[in-house]
């Protein structure tokens, strides 16, 4: 049996959670004040995911950069790879919110979309 510690992110209380694990299986969650802590610990330790936001260069637009994000959350371990995949992307203006910038970012199956309108 292995013990893992993490901080619950759901509210400013920031409960210190102690999770007992048997291999990849979660046996118990302790230290949480409410149910959200339990749910968070289980997700974070079995399948942690993040929304990634970044910027991409735009040519010929009113702005030189456009902000982007992964349309859905992606595995935490893929975050850096996903950002690197945007390194050499250059878009011609105009760009609209929701435009797909890159499909299947870093093999996650998730696409990256613009979050700003650039004329």
């Amino acid at each position: 049996m292995e013990e893992k510690n993490l901080i619950c992110i759901n509210c400013p209380l920031g409960c210190m959670l102690t999770v007992a694990m048997d291999g990849k299986k979660i046996v118990s969650v302790a230290g949480n004040t409410c149910r959200r802590g339990d749910t968070y610990a289980r997700k974070e330790l079995t399948n942690p995911t993040r929304i990634v936001t970044s910027t991409v260069r735009v040519l010929g637009g009113s702005e030189s950069m456009v902000s982007v994000k992964t349309k859905e959350d992606i595995p935490k371990g893929k975050v850096l790879e996903c950002v690197r995949a945007l390194k050499d992307v250059v878009l011609p203006a105009p760009v609209k919110i929701g435009d797909v910038i890159l499909e299947d970012a870093a093999g996650t199956g998730v696409s990256i979309v613009a979050t700003k309108n650039v004329q």
């Binding site: 910027t55 950069m65 690197r84 945007l86 390194k87």
Partner: protein, 480 residues
């Protein structure tokens, strides 16, 4: 190799005052400055005070220069279009025991020729300046005390000298001075310069150059002064410059409005080894905050927007050294110019030009231009004129610095004019963009854009103050 008749080392306020005074005559002058701009050493970090002249010993050169400089400042400020206010000064005495010292100061002032000096009683002082400490017993009032913007004074002197033919070389550091049969050879990192006459106005480094050519060594100590600057909302806290009775280290800590309406507190007086040591220290800043309470009350310390430190060029005999060296003919020292150096600069320039006029037999030019027009400040114009200005040049309708309300038009002027700004600090000292309460948080990216556009350089090459002070390191993801 480049040849001039006179080379001035240092584009601080003394060097530039000398250049301006010399530019009245038919003479080929060049100012060598190791930094990228004028006003980068002692001249940029001081109190901005025009002293009345009761501090320096009777008969000293300091006293003489102070009085003359103070007297000249009015006309000079008018000619050069820079802000100068005779706001008066008060030296606060806090106990009856100290009264002899205050009277001594009064007597010295009278002997030095300071006009209008008065000793005021407690009530008179508080009526004049309600925020002076409750502990005030009496004060020496000097109506001729004033405040000036040190940056603008320095820049204006340089611009006016330039307009009259003086040349300026920036980023040019003198490394060695060799005595020739006639005149001197100056080895710099930008090549060799020769001149019959050299003016050594190198601030804290003046001893280094002096000692290269003279057997009679001098020593200049860097004496650091830490300051705190408060927001304009605190600028009316006092109207006059408030000093405490002088102690062992200079004039103690002063409280004064600045020529632009901020409130300045300081300086400390800490002798240091490092002539580049313009860093503030915790002890220094604490000392300012502690001592300032000795002469003023209710200071709104939450309004501090920045702190900084400057180095005075302190000469061990406590005296200005402005003379041709006996053992090095043609080499003129302008050394030990600490307080009241800013006040004295017009007189210092006049004295140096006088020495050279005699020695070189200089004659006055007929076409000397005595006036210099400052950067147009739209905020000073009536609304109608301002509206007309914007119509003619829309850049004056575009506010870049929100705190000081500085327009793109003013920044472009600061860059394009002769000896124009090349860096964020250069723009700041000329226009005040970035000098306000947010300390350039909002405007620096935009000023950088303008600098890059006007100098036609990559924005990544824009610096804060020349040299290696680049503001940006790269672009997003460039090393990912």
């Amino acid at each position: 190799m480049q040849e001039y008749e006179v080379i001035i080392i240092g584009a601080g306020v003394s060097g530039c005052a000398a250049a301006r005074e010399l530019s009245r005559y038919d003479v080929k002058v060049c100012v060598l400055e190791k930094e990228e701009d004028v006003c980068c050493g002692t001249s940029k970090a001081n109190s901005g005070i025009v002293h009345a002249g009761y501090d320096a010993p009777v008969g000293s050169l300091k006293a003489q220069m102070n009085l003359r400089g103070n007297e000249m400042m009015e006309k000079l400020a008018e000619e050069l279009d820079i802000p100068f206010v005779r706001n008066g000064s008060l030296v606060v005495c806090r106990s009856e025991e100290d009264m002899p010292k205050l009277r001594e100061l009064y007597d010295r002032g009278i002997a030095n020729g300071v006009k209008g000096l008065q000793i005021l009683g407690r009530e008179e002082v508080l009526a004049k300046e309600p925020n002076v400490t409750e502990e005030v017993y009496a004060a020496l009032y000097a109506p001729t005390g004033g405040i000036v913007c040190p940056f603008e004074l320095n820049i204006a002197l340089a611009e006016n000298a330039y307009a009259n033919g003086a040349e300026f070389r920036f980023g040019t550091e003198v490394q060695e001075i060799r005595r020739l049969e006639e005149g001197y050879e100056l080895v710099t990192d930008q090549g060799i310069f020769r001149a019959g006459f050299v003016v050594n106005a190198a601030g804290v480094y003046a001893d280094r150059f002096h000692n290269m050519v003279s057997g009679r060594k001098i020593e200049i100590t860097a004496r650091r002064g830490d300051y705190c600057l408060l927001d304009k909302s605190a600028g009316n806290h006092v109207k006059s410059t408030i000093f405490t009775l002088p102690g062992k280290f200079g004039k103690g800590v002063l409280v004064a409005p600045t020529a632009h309406g901020n409130l300045i507190l300081g300086p400390t007086a800490i002798d240091i080894e490092d002539k580049e040591g313009t860093n503030t220290t915790r002890e220094g800043l604490d000392q300012v905050l502690e001592r300032v309470g000795m002469n003023a009350k209710n200071l709104p310390m939450r309004q501090v927007i920045t702190s900084f430190a400057g180095l005075r060029a302190h000469e061990k005999n406590d005296e200005f050294v402005i003379e041709e060296l006996e053992d090095a003919p043609g080499f003129i020292d302008c050394a030990g110019i600490e307080s009241p150096g800013l006040t004295s600069c017009p007189a210092v320039g006049e004295r140096i030009a006088g020495i050279l006029r005699e020695r070189m037999g200089l004659t006055e030019k007929k076409d000397f231009i005595s006036v210099r027009k400052g950067i147009l400040k739209p905020v000073t114009l009536p609304k109608e004129e301002r509206a007309r200005l914007i119509k003619e040049n829309p850049a004056y309708g575009n506010i870049i610095c929100r705190c000081e309300m500085i327009t793109e038009g003013e920044i472009i002027d600061a860059i394009r004019r002769p000896l124009g700004a090349r860096s964020l600090d250069g723009v700041k000292r000329r226009t005040r963009a970035g000098m306000g309460r947010c300390q350039a948080g909002f405007c620096s990216p935009r000023v950088m854009e303008i600098l890059a556009r006007e100098w036609d350089i990559d924005i990544r090459d824009v610096t804060k103050s020349g040299g290696a002070s680049k503001v940006l390191a790269g672009t997003n993801k460039d090393i990912l």
